[in-house]
């Protein structure tokens, strides 16, 4: 439990930082696709010990990201069609592999929703590495991300390398997703990227204020969710995301009932 809590609290840094830009760039569907897209990779990694679930998930996330980025350049299938297709295909392939070629001992709900028992020392180490990377990359790139997100037509001639900024953000989403899998699972990891940041969006007036707020909200939701998951003997990902969803609903409702709060917009 202590290891899970440590991993979860460390993960709240990249989840909050990257999640803020996921919300501001409207990339929630893409981040969900990356999470689900890791499913076949995790299954293969569990079935082939030489690969392992981490490498399997990383390879699958990279493949899905490359597919979506490559195919969405075709205007005929823009607007999420490729993302939806990749998501469904990944889920289907994962299910076929799980029931066919790679009958693994790990319960499927642990892959989809996370498990307290599945978190290893190596997972904590990877979480720390991605947290540091996210802090450095998004710290250096914060103003570029801000300008590209707000007004990419101005940002490019003003000196921001728009394609690099986009690829950096997509890479950050993939890396954060992969290291968060052991705690929340492939099906719910996008919830933890989106919900704390969406809650921060309602509470905060400025994009930069959202960053620490999303991290703090995420940390609180992971801490409380892990404790509840242990008490209830339930998958941690499901409990954490249920709590994050409830928190967002309460904050949104309060914002509607008492208009004029900071960050509100109707």
């Amino acid at each position: 439990m202590q290891r899970a809590l440590l991993a979860g609290l460390v993960l709240s840094v990249p989840l909050g930082l990257v999640g803020t830009w996921v919300v501001l760039r409207a990339l929630a569907f893409f981040s969900h696709a990356v999470g689900v897209g890791t499913f076949p990779g995790v299954v293969v990694g569990l079935g082939v010990p030489a690969i392992g679930p981490f490498l399997g998930a990383a390879a699958a996330a990279a493949a899905l990201t490359a597919t979506v980025v490559g195919l969405e350049r075709d205007e005929r299938v823009r607007g999420g069609a490729v993302t939806g297709l990749a998501l469904s295909a990944a889920m289907a392939v994962g299910a076929v592999l799980l029931t066919g070629a790679f009958a693994v001992a790990t319960p499927v709900e642990a892959v989809l929703f996370g498990s307290l028992l599945a978190i290893t020392e190596a997972d904590v180490g990877r979480a720390v590495a991605v947290a540091v990377l996210a802090l450095v990359a998004l710290g250096i790139g914060a103003r570029r991300l801000l300008t590209v997100t707000f007004d990419r037509h101005w940002a490019a001639p003003a000196g921001a390398r728009v394609v690099l900024v986009d690829l950096g953000l997509l890479g950050s989403i993939s890396a954060t997703t992969v290291v968060a899998l052991p705690v929340v699972g492939s099906l719910l990891v996008s919830g933890l990227l989106v919900l704390p940041a969406a809650t921060a969006r309602v509470l905060c007036r400025g994009a930069f204020a959202m960053l620490p707020a999303a991290c703090a909200i995420c940390a609180a939701e992971i801490g409380i969710g892990l404790a509840l998951a242990r008490e209830l003997d339930a998958p941690p990902g499901a409990v954490i995301c249920a709590g994050a969803g409830a928190t967002f609903a309460v904050v949104m409702l309060a914002d509607r009932l008492w208009p004029g709060r900071r960050g509100s917009r109707r």
């Binding site: 103003r143 997100t149 707000f150 007004d151 101005w154 001639p157 007036r205 400025g206 994009a207």
Partner: protein, 255 residues
């Protein structure tokens, strides 16, 4: 007077489509140039080429730094940023992207908001400003870039009368200080009133020169075809509904 912008044989293509072909002109420093032409004439493409934002053939020589005001429809709706934050973006390229704006930069940004008549709106969220006020904030951001040359893409489109006057006042002052301004517009009458030079495009250069030489029925008919009327001896454009289009992001049901 030296040229702030020199363009020689400029050509821009997007795939098989030619957007601009063999465009050659020079703009003296301190000029206020209206860039005219029908929809699809290549006005925005010309600005993007001058900014170095599109691949092109031919030679471009533009006095740097260049400040830019894109069309308002390109900004993201509902982005959590206030007017002051948008203006401060103009300092980022100069600061090197990772240095935070200093107190002086913030005071400068507030002064620019004051210059565009929005001193009391510094902390107002950008998406709560009117269309004209947003245009003025984007103009203040361009001023914060401290460019020798300023390129404006339809800054008067959709703006209320007060905003139009303020924008034009600021541009005139910029030119008096030696800055060079290129402004695309569909408003021929306004362009004739305020610009001292005109550049008329229709995928190629139709004409370029002083307003009194260019603003003639003959030149405008070559660019706009039958959409030009002559009223009281002055050419006017039959209103083209396309330039009033709102971008898809701004449709009311898109959230």
């Amino acid at each position: 007077m030296s040229a702030a912008i020199t363009v020689d044989g400029l050509g821009v293509s997007f795939g098989a489509r030619t957007a601009l072909e063999d465009v050659t002109f020079a703009v003296p420093a301190g000029a206020f140039v209206g860039v005219l032409g029908p929809n699809g004439a290549g006005k925005t493409t010309l600005l993007r080429a001058l900014l170095g934002d599109v691949a092109h053939s031919g030679r471009l020589d533009v006095e740097r730094p260049v400040a830019y005001v894109p069309q308002l429809s390109h900004t993201q709706d509902a982005f959590p940023i206030d007017a002051l934050g948008v203006v401060l973006m103009g300092t980022y390229p100069r600061l090197g992207w990772w240095r935070r704006p200093s107190r002086t930069d913030r005071e400068g940004a507030r002064a620019l908001l004051d210059r565009v008549g929005l001193a009391d709106r510094a902390r107002t969220p950008f998406d709560e400003l009117s269309g004209g006020q947003r245009q003025r904030v984007l103009l203040a951001r361009a001023l914060a870039q401290q460019g020798r040359v300023m390129l404006l893409d339809e800054p008067l489109s959709g703006a209320d009368a007060r905003s139009r006057e303020l924008v034009l006042d600021v541009i005139a002052e910029q030119c008096r200080r030696g800055g060079t301004v290129l402004m695309t517009t569909h408003d021929l009458a306004e362009a004739a009133r305020v610009c001292d030079r005109m550049l008329v495009l229709n995928r190629a250069l139709v004409a370029e020169g002083s307003t009194e030489d260019i603003f003639t029925e003959d030149v405008l008919r070559r660019a706009y075809g039958g959409d030009v009327l002559v009223l009281d001896g002055r050419p006017a454009l039959i209103d083209d509904p396309h330039h009033h289009d709102r971008s898809p992001e701004r449709l009311p049901w898109s959230g």
